[in-house]
């Protein structure tokens, strides 16, 4: 497959062109927090060169708060923006986050039920995944089947070689689009440089812990006192789940009065007691122990059972954001230790 080149000096022009056909999202900094924002005429691309965004990009397809429908005094229901004016393009998403889209898609567009709100945004989306030349010490994509230059979930894979990005189409959609973009082909030297950067980055990651048997390890650990120990310092603040690119749990609430209002869905978290609190008073996950176990089991056991993959892409955001330094890699190691 041909590999192309996007000159950084022409990047603004490139993105402007792209935004004629797409709603283009790029990393942006606001109030000291980096996240993906839709590009506007005055957008600055200041954060493209830095590390992964503080917030994961999942909210582009699955907003933190979203109106399912509004209703009026005649109980007429109407959905907003069910049709997008333009498909979404994301430029500069990291490989771990690109992969998270494929996991979320398996949940939201499952065999039994399709979530139209998700599908409407994701089905035509164009994902430019930017390889990580400088993985952080908290990155562990290589533990869970990923890598700093992985292409899963990407339509076009990018490598930052300094003056330019190498752009390699890695899906049918990406292939179609890239040929319409009138880009220069990459030279032998460019490719060599890309490869070198890739090798360097991969060597920067810590050696992965072997977790192919983690599902079985967890099966055996259900009743272990270890869960209490792991959960002991957790504050149940849920920062880990809100900043997780693959966490998809949500709540549905009505806002407004009976005569006028809306039904919304908002991100929710298994770390909260109310998440499973039943009206009659019972709660299957009454303490932090059960909730910690749920979070770990969902990611490393249940999803392996239902979709055949870990529900974790190794982005490390839960490690960075945890106020009590609870490190999911240490949890995994502990679990393996109990079993051995």
């Amino acid at each position: 497959m041909d590999i192309f080149k996007i000159e950084k000096s022409k990047l603004k022009q490139f993105l402007d062109d792209l935004s004629k056909k797409y709603s283009v999202f790029v990393p942006a900094k606001q109030d000291r927090v980096t996240s993906f924002k839709e590009i506007t005429l005055n957008s600055q691309l200041s954060t493209l060169n830095s590390y992964n965004t503080d917030k994961p990009p999942k909210d582009i397809f699955f907003p933190q708060t979203e109106t399912l429908f509004t209703y009026d005094e005649n109980s007429q229901l109407s959905t907003l923006n069910s049709q997008l004016s333009k498909p979404i393009a994301i430029f500069g998403v990291r490989p771990c986050d690109a992969k998270s889209f494929t996991l979320l898609d398996k949940v939201f567009d499952s065999e039994k039920y399709t979530d139209t709100y998700w599908k409407e945004r994701y089905k035509d989306a164009l994902v430019f995944a930017l390889g990580c030349n400088n993985p952080l010490s908290t990155c562990f994509c290589n533990w869970v089947g990923g890598g700093p230059f992985n292409k899963e979930g990407a339509d076009i894979s990018l490598i930052d070689i300094g003056e330019a990005f190498l752009a390699e189409p890695c899906s049918k959609k990406g292939e179609e689009v890239i040929h319409k973009l009138s880009l220069q082909k990459a030279t032998e030297d460019d490719l060599k440089k890309g490869n070198q950067l890739k090798n360097e980055a991969e060597s920067m990651l810590s050696k992965p812990v072997e977790i192919s048997s983690l599902k079985e390890d967890l099966d055996a650990l259900w009743n272990s006192p270890k869960w209490e120990e792991i959960a002991r310092k957790c504050l149940n603040c849920a920062a880990c789940t809100y900043l997780c690119p693959t966490c998809h749990c949500f709540d549905i609430q009505d806002e407004g009065k009976s005569s006028k209002g809306k039904r919304i869905r908002i991100w929710d978290s298994c770390m909260f007691k109310l998440f499973t609190q039943e009206a009659a008073g019972t709660n299957p996950r009454p303490t932090g122990k059960e909730r910690m176990r749920q979070r770990i089991m969902h990611k490393f056991n249940y999803l392996v059972e239902t979709i055949g993959e870990f529900g974790c892409v190794g982005c490390g955001r839960c490690i960075i954001s945890c106020p009590v330094n609870l490190d999911v890699r240490e949890v995994i190691k502990e679990i393996k230790k109990v079993r051995n």
Partner: protein
């Protein structure tokens, strides 16, 4: 693309106060638009919603053949159920469904079925009983054991009286403590089950009720020789989406909403034991 979160409009046709403490009401719910009508099977549930208050899941208590209206019996316990209890006949509410799986009535064919219920967890069991009676020739003996704390807490009392007169259904009603007006059986469901359950040979058991009842009845069924593969229950969990996306009603890797709510004990045995 069908939007699975959009409720359809339905009309409250009739409201019946079901229990003597008035905390249970049965609602007959009719489709406002014929095009929204759906088929379902006994054991499935719907999300009923009141705009501004929210949604909650309820098992369908009527059989698919009862075309006039769907039946729901609702315990007043939270925000949505309280709002539902304030409804008057004729009002329009929202409904999503049918959701979840159902009792495996096809598997039951040619066999005997014992249905064991306790308290107000009798709703989808009613749907099942009516369904089995409508297809009576497909099944051998049908035994129903139904217990409540006191007579006034038994659901569908007029219908129970009708069923008692039938000779193709063995109905055993029981209450926990003796009261003057009660001339029938007194005793807990597990004890009654021990006494009246049919032979486990080619039989299926369906059990629904408060956890304490289930806890003490399951060993009885197992002692009688009912294998876990042929003992079914219907579970409840806090739910929101009802379609396996919002992530809260799981037991292990199964979602009660979309993989259940009906499970055999053999299936549940495979899952983590989360209380």
């Amino acid at each position: 693309m069908e939007n699975v979160y959009m409720p359809i409009p339905v009309k409250v046709k009739k409201i019946m106060v079901e229990s003597d403490d008035k905390t249970l009401r049965t609602f007959d719910i009719a489709f406002c638009n014929e095009k929204d009508r759906f088929d379902f099977m006994p054991g499935q549930f719907c999300q009923l919603s009141i705009l501004g208050k929210g949604e909650a899941p309820f098992g369908i208590a009527s059989s698919p053949s009862e075309k006039d209206a769907l039946k729901f019996t609702i315990n007043r316990v939270g925000n949505v159920t309280t709002a539902l209890h304030y409804l008057e006949e004729g009002e329009v509410i929202g409904m999503r469904g049918p959701l979840g799986n159902w009792y495996p009535v096809d598997k039951f064919k040619g066999g005997s079925v014992v249905i064991i219920g306790g308290g107000f967890a009798f709703t989808t069991l009613r749907a099942l009983i009516v369904y089995l009676l409508e297809h009576r020739k497909d099944y051998k003996d049908i035994t129903v054991i139904y217990g409540a704390r006191r007579p006034g807490l038994l659901l569908y009392r007029d219908e129970l009286a009708e069923w008692e007169k039938r000779d193709d259904l063995q109905l055993h009603l029981t209450i926990d403590k003796e009261v003057p007006e009660w001339k029938k059986r007194v005793g807990f469901v597990p004890t009654v089950t021990k006494e009246v359950a049919p032979s486990p040979k080619n039989s299926w058991a369906v059990i629904c009720g408060p956890p304490i009842m289930i806890k003490y009845t399951l060993p009885v069924l197992s002692e009688l020789g009912f294998p876990q593969e042929r003992t079914y229950t219907s579970l409840e969990r806090r739910m929101k989406c009802g379609i396996g996306k919002c992530g809260r009603c799981n037991i292990g890797h199964k979602y009660v909403c979309s993989d259940g709510p009906v499970f055999s004990y053999a299936e549940l045995q495979e899952l983590p034991q989360e209380e």
